[in-house]
Each structure stands twice: as C-alpha cells, then as structure tokens.
C-alpha cells in the first residue's frame, strides 16, 4: 500500500476553546479521470481517484465527504471546525482502488 504525503493545517495558528477555525487538508494524489491517454504508449490511464474523506475530532465524525474524479490533482479540502477541547484531528481518506490512509494532527487551544 503506497504511502501518500499529506498535510493538515489549522488556521489561524493561535486559537482558544470556543473559536471556529479552518482545517485545511492536502494530499498528494494523481486523481486520474480515466479519460486521459499516455502520450508514449497511447493507452488509457485507468481511473484513480479519492472517493471518500472523513474528518474526525477526538474520534467523533464531524464531516464526511464523497468526492469524484473532477477534483483537481493533489486535492485540497477545507472545512470549519469549532474547538471544544484539546485533542487531535484525524482525516481518513480512501480511493477507488481500495487504498486507505490517515493523517492526524494535535489540537492545542491556548488558555485565556
């Protein structure tokens, strides 16, 4: 199972309990549509795209996405999230060939 590079960013960097922050998730993935041909061999490049992304906050599902091949290469997904407690954000993503990967990031709200 190929290991993919991915990244979670929480913006702004400094936040308190009760704030609404933005969570950005980027993953390096080809997102092939199945409509493209290899220039050298002339063969059709088979479909390969992420079809399911789930955002968890302390093991509680906060957002579920069903995505299709019309999302750009190296997809970027951004949602809002309300900070209620320290913990972690986990993103689980699957693609149409059965690859399942996940990425986590710690949530550390500032006091006061």
């Amino acid at each position: 199972m190929a290991k993919r590079k991915s990244l979670i960013k929480i913006k702004p960097k400094k936040y308190k309990v009760g704030d609404i922050v933005r969570v950005d998730f980027i993953v390096i993935h080809p997102m092939e549509t199945g409509l493209r041909k290899d220039k050298k061999t002339g063969k059709v490049i088979p479909m390969h795209y992420i079809n399911d992304v789930q955002f968890f906050y302390n093991d509680r599902l906060i957002t579920k996405m069903i995505v299709w091949e019309s999302i750009s290469t190296n997809p970027y997904f951004s949602i809002n999230m309300k900070i209620t407690e320290p913990g972690r954000v986990k993103v689980v993503y699957k693609d149409n060939l059965g690859e399942v990967n996940e990425k986590t990031k710690k949530v550390k709200p500032r006091k006061g």
Binding site: L35, M47, I62, M65, T73, S78, I79, M81, K82
Partner: protein, 156 residues
C-alpha cells in the same frame, strides 16, 4: 502537457486535430467514457430527491470569473445559516454543469463544524457554470450558480 490530455477526453471530435493518427481516434474516443458519467440534471435530481433547488442569497459561491487553467479552479462555498444542534446545514454539494461527471463533491456537515463552509479545487472541461447546492435544517435545498470562463485553447 497534462491539461491537453485531460481536455481531449471532454473535447470529443475537436480533439481529432490534435491526435497524430486520426483514423483510430474516433473509435478510441467512444471508449473513453467515464463509468461515473452523469449529466447535471440527473445529478441534481439525485441530490435533492426530485424536489429541486431554489436560487438563494444564503449560499455564497466564490469562483474566479476567468480561469486560465481549467485543471485547477478554486471553489469556496459558505452558507449563511445557523449551525445549531437541531437546525444545521446538512450538506453542501458542488456541481459542474458540463463536465462528463457533473458531481464534484458531496460534503455532509454536522453541528460541530460551527459554520457551513467548504473549499476545494476542481477541474473544468470548458467554459461552464459551477453550481453549489446546500441542504438546510428544514430539508429545503438552496443553490447558487456562477459561470466560469476557461481560457485554454484546447480545441485549436
């Protein structure tokens, strides 16, 4: 060169000029059908359950008016509606009217999001409209649409 290849799939017959051997290209083009292919009307029917969606000011859709590269078009959707425990925006859908598969993303939200917002980047096969549909807490659907001009000389 990637975007040329991508456009060919959508461009159909006008891609003939770009391919070196025109005799096989027609047959090949027919094969290049996406199994997920779905037109816009059918996709909207499935999402709304046949109810249809009304245009509304509540949905803010931000897309560039002119996209130089159809392979990367940033889309931002936010919905002006409360996100309370029993009354929250249940889902946001992003659709492209003329892509082979009109559906781009279906996002299912929960009250923990705090605000109904979603951003991503999509591919567009040509000049067309991008539509954002949102399901509100009372089960009604609202939408917003904007046209995006894609300025690639994909068809010569």
């Amino acid at each position: 060169m990637e975007r040329r290849g991508f456009l060919k799939g959508f461009a159909g017959a006008c891609a003939l000029t770009a391919i070196a051997v025109p005799t096989i290209s027609l047959a090949e083009q027919k094969k290049l059908k996406s199994p997920n292919e779905m037109d816009f009307k059918k996709a909207l029917d499935i999402i709304t359950g046949g109810k249809g969606a009304k245009d509304s000011q509540k949905v803010n859709l931000i897309v560039p008016e002119i996209a130089e590269n159809g392979a990367v078009v940033p889309v931002k959707v936010s919905v002006d509606a409360p996100m309370e425990k029993d009354n929250y925006v249940k889902s946001i859908h992003v659709l492209a009217t003329k892509n082979a598969n009109a559906r781009c993303a279906d996002v299912f939200l929960t009250p923990y999001n705090g605000k109904a917002y979603f951003a991503t980047r999509i591919k567009l096969g040509g000049t067309q409209e991008v539509v954002a549909v949102a399901e509100l807490g009372d089960g009604t659907f609202v939408k917003a649409h904007k046209s995006v001009k894609v300025t690639i000389g994909g068809c010569g």
